[in-house]
Amino acid sequence: MKNALILARDWIVERTGFDRVWEVLFERHVPEAKGPAAWLYTLGSASLFVFLVQVVTGSLLAMNYVPSPDHAYDSVRFIGEKVLCGSFIRGLHHWGASFMVVLVVAHMLRIYFMGSYKYPREGTWMVGVVLLLLVVGLGFTGYLLPWDQKAYWATAVGTNIAEQTPFIGPLVAKVLKGSSELGAATLPRFYALHVLVLPAAMLLGLGVHLFLVVWHGISEPPERARRPGEAP
């Protein structure tokens, strides 16, 4: 029996290189951070965790949501009142969005103040800034979906702001809204952005970001610069 398990494991390892993947991802060494600062290094993985919560709860919500102005509001009410644990799942997704913004910004501030964006991690930082914008975009597009008063008018304000952009503003606003006014054409557009376009871009960006984190190694906590002639 034990032999069979080892055989099965070897069979998989030989065909997937899983042992090397495990070594590279989990047995890589990380420079030691001491004291409370060590906990700041969990902000990135915490953001990833909340993103996964959003993916799971979002998928569950999408199973009962209808992205049309005639049915969106009623389907959200249906989720809250009739679907098993629906109001809890919607609550998780709602609060998860706020947590996501807070954690991603906190993660960025850690990198900013510790100067961790410097050589050789410039690319990791730039992809991170794009990921931050995607999070904000997900928050903005998701806000319209319940199609209640708050959703409608907050989005009206947002698209009006986009319209103010010099030169390209009117075009951007029209593409977002799907017509000259916020209405029936807007909701399916925001839905497609929220569940297809932005999450796909997010997964791609996350893949690159995480690859770079592992490739370069996690940055060590900063030390004061030594003046010339000072002992190390």
Binding site: V30, P31, T42, S45, A46, F49, V76, A151, I161
Partner: protein, 318 residues
């Protein structure tokens, strides 16, 4: 390659070698934080849920739009840049900030990493945090633009019936909807509730030859729809109303070119307030806005006069 790059690579390799394995040391901390976050999320989701207001109503100009809290600082910054400068606060400044963040590692390329060794960027970061933080707090504290109005639940139910029955396929309200039937806000004001209810039961019974189909609604749906119709229609006012306005209101308020300027211009007030809100504002302004400088008219005018005046004002700008 800069000379310090080479040195950094060597030093990092040494620190990494002396460090601990990602699993289980870092994974343990990450898992603990993830668990605490999930506990907090669950608590918030369970205690407060997500909330759902009434159905979106594009014709409701009295709603107080509020963005999600993390956009509030932007919303608040708009107020500091009036008129044509608004695009500076809305797009140019945030755009420049994002671009600056994106290019940061190409601008700040030296070996110094400790915040005290980079006083300019550290200061800039703290300043940015203070600006965004105080704008967010100011946004949370700023009073609502429109006073919160209690809406008649019957009217809200009627609006749902109007939407569910797709009335807008044929009818217009405030310029939105189809062209087959009459524009409702123009015609409905003069009709009584009884007439409306009869009409909704069987359109042909009161308008022979009407092309409108029978709706087959329940009694309470008919009552709600009638209440909604009464709320959108311009009710007729008497010739007294403009005279009452010039006598009691025009010292402070303007309609068109006539009137004083110490109070708000009321030329378009009907597009922003319904009749019920205007009645309250005339009778006792402090009941809507405790800081109002306007006197209460409930003792100077009769209820009939206030109703007349409110009908007149709610017709302006619609």
């Amino acid at each position: 390659m800069s000379p310090w790059h080479e040195e950094y690579r060597r030093r990092y390799a040494r620190l990494k070698g002396a460090g601990k394995s990602f699993f289980p040391h870092a994974v343990f901390k990450d898992a603990l934080v993830a668990f605490l976050i999930f506990a907090a999320l669950s608590l918030l989701a369970w205690k407060f849920g997500a909330g759902l207001e009434s159905l979106a109503d594009p014709t409701d100009a009295t709603y107080n739009p509020r963005p999600e809290w993390y956009f509030l600082f932007l919303f608040q910054a708009l107020k500091a840049f009036p008129g044509s400068l608004e695009s500076v606060a809305a797009v140019v400044l945030p755009g420049a900030a994002v671009l600056g963040l994106l290019l940061l590692p190409l601008i700040d390329r030296g070996p110094e990493r400790h915040p005290f060794d980079r006083p300019l960027l550290t200061g800039l970061g703290i300043l940015g945090l203070i600006v965004v933080g105080s704008l967010t707090v100011a946004g949370l504290r700023s009073p609502l633009v429109n006073p919160i109005e209690e809406k008649d639940p019957l009217v809200a139910a009627g609006r749902r019936v109007y939407q569910d029955m797709n009335c807008a396929y044929c009818h217009k309200i405030r310029g939105k909807g189809g062209v087959v039937g009459p524009e409702l806000d123009k015609v409905v004001g003069g009709e009584s509730v009884e007439w409306l209810e009869k009409h909704f039961r069987d359109p042909k019974s009161v308008v022979p030859g009407s092309a409108m189909p029978q709706l087959h609604l329940l009694d309470d749906e008919i009552a709600a729809l009638a209440a909604y119709m009464k709320s959108i229609g311009d009710e007729p006012f008497t010739k007294e109303a403009p005279r009452l306005f010039s006598e009691h209101c025009a010292a402070c308020h303007k309609i068109g070119r006539e009137g004083g300027e110490s109070g708000p211009d009321l030329s378009l007030i009907g597009s922003a307030r319904d009749k019920a809100a205007l009645k309250r504002a005339i009778a006792d302004p402090t009941s809507l806005n405790p800081a109002a400088a306007m006197p209460a008219f409930k003792d100077q005018l009769t209820d009939v006069q206030i109703e007349d005046l409110a009908r007149y004002l709610s017709s302006l700008g619609r």
